[in-house]
C-alpha cells in the first residue's frame, strides 16, 4: 500500500474544497441526539401498537413470498416444524446455538427425530444441510424484514447456504419501521463499544429478475423462507 496515495488524495480533496468555507468544529459524527431516551419513547409506541404491528408484519412477509407459521406457543411451533420435516423430507439441519433456541431444546429434539446436525464450521458441509434454523434478533413490521446479527452462537451461513431458511421469532423483537430499528441499534452501539462483524436484513427468499424481468426465487440464497411466529 502506498502511503503517498493517501496523502495525495487527501491533499487534492482539501485543495478542491478550499472555496467551501467549512466550519471545522462542526464536523463530527456526533449529532448530540439522545438515543437512549429516543429508544424508550420508540419502545413505548411499539408496545402500544403491538397487535396491529404483528398483523402488518405478517401481511408484509406474505407480500415477499415468505411462508408464515403462526404458532400459539412453543409446542405448536415444534409440531409445525415436524410437519415441515415430513412434507419436505428433510434429512439434515444446521441451527444457531442462541439462547432461546437452547431454552426450547430444539436441537436435541430434531436430532431425536432422526435429522443429522451439521455445524457451520465447514462451509462445504453446511451447504449440504437441508434446512437452516435461526432466531431473529429484530424485525421490521412495515417492510417484512428479519434482522440477523452474527456472533459466536449465530453463524452467518445458517440463513444463507441451506436451500430452506426457517426463522423462529417472538413479537417483542418487532420494530415499526427502519427508523425505530436504527434508533434502537444506535443506543446499543453507544452503550457497548462492540459492533457485530455482520448484520443482515432479510426480506423474503433470494430472488432475481435478471432474465427478461421474470421473477425467479432462490437464485443464490435460500429458495424458501419460513417464519415461525410465536404469538
Amino acid at each position: 500500500m502506498s502511503n503517498s496515495s493517501r496523502e495525495e488524495i487527501l491533499h487534492t480533496i482539501r485543495k478542491r474544497l478550499e472555496g467551501v468555507g467549512r466550519d471545522e468544529k462542526k464536523i463530527s459524527v456526533d449529532t448530540k441526539r439522545n438515543f437512549r431516551s429516543e429508544t424508550e419513547e420508540v419502545q413505548k409506541l411499539i408496545d402500544e401498537s403491538q397487535s396491529a404491528l404483528i398483523t402488518q408484519f405478517i401481511d408484509e412477509l406474505k407480500n415477499v413470498n415468505t411462508n408464515v407459521i403462526e404458532a400459539g406457543g412453543e409446542e405448536k411451533a415444534k409440531s409445525s416444524l415436524q410437519d415441515l420435516i415430513k412434507e419436505k423430507e428433510l434429512k439434515s439441519f444446521a441451527i444457531w446455538e442462541s439462547q432461546f433456541l437452547k431454552e426450547i431444546n430444539l436441537k436435541q429434539e430434531l436430532k431425536d427425530s432422526g435429522l443429522k446436525l451439521i455445524t457451520a464450521k465447514n462451509k462445504n458441509r453446511i451447504a449440504k444441510a437441508d434446512i437452516g434454523i435461526t432466531e431473529v434478533d429484530y424485525a421490521i413490521a412495515d417492510t417484512g424484514t428479519l434482522v440477523l446479527i452474527a456472533d459466536k452462537n449465530q453463524p452467518r451461513s445458517v440463513s444463507l447456504l441451506p436451500p430452506i431458511h426457517l426463522a423462529i421469532m417472538r413479537p417483542e423483537n418487532l420494530a415499526r419501521n427502519i427508523n425505530d430499528l436504527f434508533i434502537i441499534l444506535k443506543s446499543k452501539l453507544e452503550a457497548s463499544e462492540d459492533i457485530t462483524s455482520c448484520m443482515t436484513f432479510i426480506t423474503g427468499p433470494s430472488r432475481t429478475a435478471d432474465i427478461e424481468l421474470s421473477l425467479t426465487l432462490g437464485v443464490h440464497g435460500p429458495k424458501e423462507l419460513y417464519v415461525v411466529f410465536l404469538l
Binding site: I13, R16, I27, S197, S206, E212, H220
Partner: protein
Amino acid sequence: MGFEEVRFEQDSEKALRNKSLQKALVNVTNRFRSARNKASEEVPDWEDLRTSARKIKKETIENLDKYLLILEESVKKAGGKVHWTKDAEEASRIIVGIAREGNVKSVVKSKSMATEEIELNSSFEDAGIKVVETDLGEYIIQLAGEHPSHIIAPAIHKTKEDISKLFSEKLGIPHYDKPEELTKVARERLRSEFLNADMGVSGANFAVAETGTIVVVENEGNARLTTTVPKIHVALVGIEKLIPRYEDLSLFLTVLARSATGQKSSTYVSFITGPKRSTDIDGPEEFHLVLLDNGRSKILASEKTRESLYCIRCGACLNNCPVYRKVGGHSYGWVYSGPIGAIITPQLMGIDKAPELPFASSLCGACHDVCPVKIDFPKVLLELRKNVVESKKGGTRVLERLGIRLWRFTVEHESIYKITNKLSYYFQLPWKGSNGKLNSLPYPFSRWTDQRDFPAVAKKTFRETWKEIKK
C-alpha cells in the same frame, strides 16, 4: 471495460435500429418506473426524505477529507485494512497484490460498478487468477464477453433465447428455455465457485464513517456469499460512497430500494464491519477496504458540478430518461449510463473523452424529479456543455454557428421573417412525404430525418390563421 472515446451518436444509432433492444428497454424502464412511482407515493414524507438525503450527502461531500479519516480509523478499529488508491491502475494493482499475498487461486465477485470502472477482471486474468461474476445478470454478461447495459439490470438487453444459446455454448449444457431453468443452472455452477473461491470482491452501496461499516444491498444473495464464504473479503468503494453516521442508513436504505426497484426493502442488506471476530464461527478472516479516487476528488472543485458525487446509484434517472429509454446503456460508452453517465463520465474521464455526453439529454428534468438525492441534472449538464464549448475539443460546428446567425438576423427583421416563412413553405415541397411530413431531407438535416419525420411548414402562418379567425 475498454475506454477510448465515447461515440454516442454512432452507438445510439445502432441501438435505435436494434428491435429486440428497443422492446427490452421499454419493458425494463416502464416496469421500474411504475414500481418506483408506487413505492415513493406510499411514503407520506417522501419529498422530505429526499431533501434530508441530499443535505447529508452535501455535508459529507463538502467534508470528504474529514469523514474519510474517520472511516479509516473505524475500519482499522474493527480489524480491517484500508488502502487508498488514486486511479484504476493502482486499485487493480493493490487488489491483485492482496490476492497474491493470500495465495488466491480463484475470486468470486458480486456486482460492483467500481470494479467495472477499474476493469478489475482483466487485471485478475492477466495475473492468472480466475475471476467469476456471480450476480446472475453479470454472470450472463461475463459469459457473453459484453458490458452491463443498466446499472441494476445489467443483462436486460438479452432475451431468454440469447441466454439459452449462450449457456448451451459456454457451459456445454442442453438448451433450456425457461428463466427458472436457466437460473437453476447458474445457481449450481456458481455455488461451487463460491465454495472454492479464496477471495470475494464486493462493492458497497454505503460506507459509514462512524462505525466503519460497509453496506451491500442486493436481491440474489450472491453478495452475502461473496462477503461470507471466502477467507478474504475485499470491498472496492468509491470515496463518494461515504455517509457520516450509522443512523443515516435508515434514510438512505429507504430511498435507495424504493428508487431503484420499487421494493420496500431489497431482499438482502449486509452490514459488514471488519473481518470475522475471533469468536465468530464463519465469515472472512481478512477484510480489506480499498478506497478509490479515480478522478472523484477532482470533481469537487466546481461548486456547480460537485453534486454529481451525491449519487447513490439507484438507476431511477435511467428509467425516467427519454433519451436512455431509446438508446440504452451501451450508447454511453462507459460503465455509467443514462443521465448519471452523461454527467459523471465526462468528469471522471475528462471532458475531451466524452464531449457528446452532456448533450445527450433533452434537459426535460425528469431525472431531477426522481433523483433520491435531488441532483440537479439540467444544471450540471448545462455547466458541462459550457465546458465542452469552451474546450477546444467540443465547440459548436461552423455550420451550426452560421445557422444560428442567420436565424438571429431573420427574426430581427420582420419583413425578412415573413418572406422566409413563405419561401420555406415552397422550398420544402420536394421533400414532403405522403404523410404530410418531411421524410428525407439532405445533409445536414438528414441526421434528423434518418430517424424520424420532421413536421412540415404550414402554408398559412399562425398570424394569418389568427386574423382569419378574428374576422
